[in-house]
Amino acid sequence: MNSRGPHGLIGLGVAALLLLPLVASAERIDPRLSARLNTSTARAVQSEIDRAHMEGLPTEPLVMKALEGAAKGASGRKIATVVHRHAMALGDASRALGPATTEAELVAGAGAILCGAPTDSLRSLRAARGDSSVVIPLVVISDLLARRVPPREAAEIVVGAWRAGASATDLLRLREGIHRDIQEGMEPSAAALRARVTTDRGRTETR
C-alpha cells in the first residue's frame, strides 16, 4: 500500500501547519543572534529589535549591542536588559532630535542619554544649528559624562560652544583639554568650568 496516498498527504499538511509557527519564529531571529546567543536570549533580543523596527528606529545598533554582550561574556539576562535600555534610549533620542535625524545621530544621541545627558540638551543642539550633524557634539557630551563631569555642566559647555559656531575639531580639542586636566588631578566639574571660561574668553576676545 502506498503510504503517500491521500491520508499521508493530509498528515503531512497538518504537521506542516503545526510546525509553521515554530519555523516562522525561528526564521524571524537574526542569524547573527542565534549564532552567538542561546535561544531564549536571542528571542528576547529579537523582540526588542522587532519593537524598535515598528517604531521606525534603527535596529542594527541593537544587534551589535547584543553581540557585544555575547563577546564580553555577559549573561543572557544582562544582554536582554542592556538591549532593552538601548532601544528605549534610541526612542528618546528620536523624539528629542526630531524627524530627518540620521542613524548615526540617533545612536550618538542614545549614547548621550544613557550617559545621563538631559534630553533637552539634544533638542538644544538640534535647534542651534539645524543643518549640521550633531554626532560630534553628542559624542563629546557622552565622553565628558563618562569622565564624571556633572550632566548639566557637560551639556552647557558643549551646547554653548556649538551654538557659538564651534567646529567638530574645536569640540574635540575642548574634550581633549578637559580630559588632560582630569588626568592631572583636577575635579571633573572644575576641569569643565576651566574649559568653559577659556572658551568664553576666546569668544569674547575675537568679537
Binding site: 540620521t102 548615526a104 554626532v135
Partner: protein, 191 residues
Amino acid sequence: MSESKDPWRRLSDAYRERPRISPEAKERLLERISKTPPPRRSRWGVPLPWPGSGLRLAPAVTAAAVIGAFLLGALVTRVALGPRLDHTSSAGGKTPADSLVLVQFVLTAPGARSVSVAGDFNRWEAGDLDMVRVSPEGLWTVTAALARGSHLYSFVIDGIRWVADPTAPLGPDDGFGSPSSVVVVGGPGAT
C-alpha cells in the same frame, strides 16, 4: 588534616582540602555550557605589514600602505589629538556613499602578548582584527577599513581584558562592565 607540626604547612594543607562548593553549581554550569553556542575561530581585518613582519597586504588596500605610513608618521600628533576623525579617502577613489575609510588603531601596552580590536564593525569578535607589535616599548597598531559613520570599539588584551582607547572619546557605559570608545569616520557628510 596533615600531621605536620609546621603551622604554615598546616594552613597550606587546610587550603588544599576540597572547598565547600556545591556539586549542583558545577552541574548548572555544565547545563549552561550545553546551551551556549560553541566558540568559533574566524579572522577579519587588514593588518598593515611591517618590515620583517611576514604579513601580506590584502590586494584591495595595496594603495593604503602609503597612507598607513603617513598615518604612522603623524602618530604622536594624532594620538595627542585623540580620536581619529579621519577624512582620508579610501583607496581607489570610490564614491563617498560607498567608500570605506582607513582608520589606524594604536595602543601602548608593553605587557601584552596579544592585542586585537573588536567593535561594531566586526561584530565585536575579539581576535578578528589582531594588532601588530611595532616597537620594543609595546606600541601596537593595525589599520582597518571602516564604513563611514560612528563606531564603538574596544581593545582586547591577551584575549580576555577589554579596555577603552585612552586617546579616544569614551562611549556610553556598555552595561557589561567593560568600557568602549568611539571613532567617527569619514567627516561631517558621513554622519
